[in-house]
């Protein structure tokens, strides 16, 4: 209903009363009135001021497009050098070291650059984070929306949102000094012992840094995003759905599974993709725990690097224009990928939260 009225208002001719009131400014202009006040009374009522204000606001809104265009233009401009040198091969090529005959990807001294290890690191750490975070986030959302006693709901929701407010650098700092030693001393030996046969957990990195540490930190960081969006879409599921399933004799879990999660699944997928977008671009925490070596390893316990991490660590000490240009091209790739991922997530979430209430009536 408010939507309907909203469209009506601007079409009403409110210039008319404005024009009338401008005819009697003298009556209200007190002697102490300032220049601004006099201006407002004399000319503030004109259609010109109205139109000026309108266009100013439009300009502010358009600045958002401007920012996206600006970022894209600047990154395209400054990555020309690397683009002309490598083209699309930048994203899949590798080089062979003439001395040791080992495959390598990133050699600033000889100006040979390839994005492969960083794309690999970004993907591995992000998907690891999703793997750890999604079950927990959905679990928390289910608990908070469907099971939690009312008195606990507010504080617990606030606590999970606080996780989102902690700066990335503090996550990294904590991860480096608490999580990494914990993984190194207690978790990694067990993983190597139990799952060493898969080849995913090799005992070749004594530091504890690496993909797994980055994945765990990222999981903690994206948890609140996924869980708050999941909660949002779950609350958007109409109550009649829950009641209908309960009336058929379902237990609470069956009600949640059939009545709530099924209806909210598109939105939950949207939340997960949004979390993925955050994980792909996360910089500081990953930089501090991933180890920062441009290599590809199968083992999750090995050092690696990610797109954002290599930009953060090498940009200020880049050797030569080509190095700088290659780093900016990595940034451009990251920008485009996160734009696509976020747009997709946004569309999915909108599809659910917009349509849901309308379906009940």
């Amino acid at each position: 209903m408010p939507e309907f009225r909203a469209r009506q208002i601007p079409s009403q001719p409110f210039e008319t009363p404005a024009a009338q009131s401008s005819a009697v400014p003298a009556a209200s202009s007190a002697p102490e009135s300032s220049a601004v006040r006099r201006f407002l009374l004399a000319r503030g009522n004109s259609a010109l001021a109205d139109r000026g204000f309108h266009w100013l606001m439009v300009l502010c809104a358009l600045s958002i497009f401007g920012i996206v265009a600006l970022i894209l233009w600047q990154l395209l401009l400054r990555s020309q050098l690397s683009w002309h040198a490598f083209g699309f091969r930048f994203f899949y090529q590798s080089f062979t070291d003439p001395d040791s005959h080992r495959t390598m990807y990133w050699d600033p001294v000889n100006s040979l650059f390839s994005a492969v290890p960083f794309i690999y690191g970004t993907l591995v750490s992000s998907f690891l984070a999703l793997l750890l975070a999604v079950p927990l986030a959905v679990g928390v959302a289910v608990f908070l929306t469907e099971m939690c006693p009312g008195a606990l709901r507010g504080p617990l929701a606030f606590l999970t949102e606080l996780l989102a407010a902690i700066p990335s650098v503090i996550y990294g700092f904590w991860g480096f000094f608490v999580l990494v030693p914990l993984l190194r001393e207690h978790v990694n030996p067990l993983l190597i012992q139990w799952f060493g046969w898969t080849g995913l957990f090799n005992n070749d990195n004594p530091t504890g840094l690496g993909f797994l540490a980055a994945g765990v930190i990222l999981a903690i960081m994206i948890l609140p995003i996924i869980s708050s969006l999941t909660r949002e879409v779950m609350t958007a599921v109409p109550h009649s759905q829950r009641e209908a399933v309960l009336a058929l004799g379902a237990t609470r879990w069956e009600m949640i599974r059939m009545g709530v999660l099924r209806n909210a699944r598109i939105g939950i997928v949207g939340g997960i993709i949004l979390g993925l977008g955050r994980a792909l671009g996360e910089t500081m925490a990953v930089t501090m725990v991933i180890g920062n070596t441009p290599e590809i390893h199968r083992s999750l316990l090995s050092n690696g690097s990610s797109m954002a991490a290599v930009i953060a660590t090498q940009f200020t000490e880049a050797v030569g224009d080509m190095h700088l240009s290659a780093l900016i091209e990595l940034g451009l790739a990251l920008f485009i990928v996160t734009i696509i991922v976020n747009a997709l997530a946004q569309l999915l979430v909108w599809a659910v939260t917009r349509g849901a209430p309308a379906q009940t009536h």
Binding site: P10, F173, T316
Partner: protein, 289 residues
Amino acid sequence: MSTNHFPLRSRLRTLTDRAVTGLTILATVIVVAPLVAIFAYLVYKGASSLNLAFFTQIPKPVGVAGGGMANAILGSAILLAIASAIGVPIGIGGGIFLAEFGRGTRLANAVRFTADVLNGVPSIVMGLAIYALIVIPQKHFSALSGGVALGIMMIPTVCRTTEEMLMMVPHAVREAALGLGVPNWRSVLSITVKTASPGIITGCMLAFARVAGETAPLLFTALGNDFWSSNLNQPIAALPLQIYVYALSPYDDWHRLAWAGSLVLIVLIVLAVSLVRYVTSRGVLKGAS
């Protein structure tokens, strides 16, 4: 349930229900645990190194005990002031357009969508873009470029929360203002925006808290500085940046300073977020509608 023909099945279903309840509680505990762990560790490590010197002195050279992060605190304040000067007015303007002028139009939907997408763009990309835009032509790092990078990051958040808050203002208020012959722009500024101002301020604080902890966009714009600096054309220190540099240093003295800095930063951010939560849960706007 006297006529229960499937006792086993029924018990299995009840058991599954209980198990799932247990699992969700476990998930909640696992999620809250890192939060508690991080806070406890920060307080444990940071509180012991917090003293007056931390807030009044600049960092001492390696090996000299003591010193503080006063220059980083000042630097952060300057950067955030620049960021707010850019991000708040433009963000609020965009929000006003979305809620007051563009409701339901295709342009408004596109702006809203782009703002949400821009919100998810990695902060390091923002740093790169500002580096290319300001630092390369100027040929040196500067506080101004850092502030601009943070300001641009504030715009989408401020814009969307302003819109949401303005949407909550009832139409009767606008109609009353227009009916009295108030021009539209004044009705928007001194009636609608004023009614929604607690919510809008909250949104600004949320954006502020978010960029206050940002490090990545400052790495190659503000760069950091070990000395007092308030010159906008020079590299400037910032609290998150200093924490990053000190955390990765091999010196215990610097680690202690970094812990103290983290504690200060997180206390400020938690205070801001709690205030926001308090204001929004009090329903400042609910009374009006």
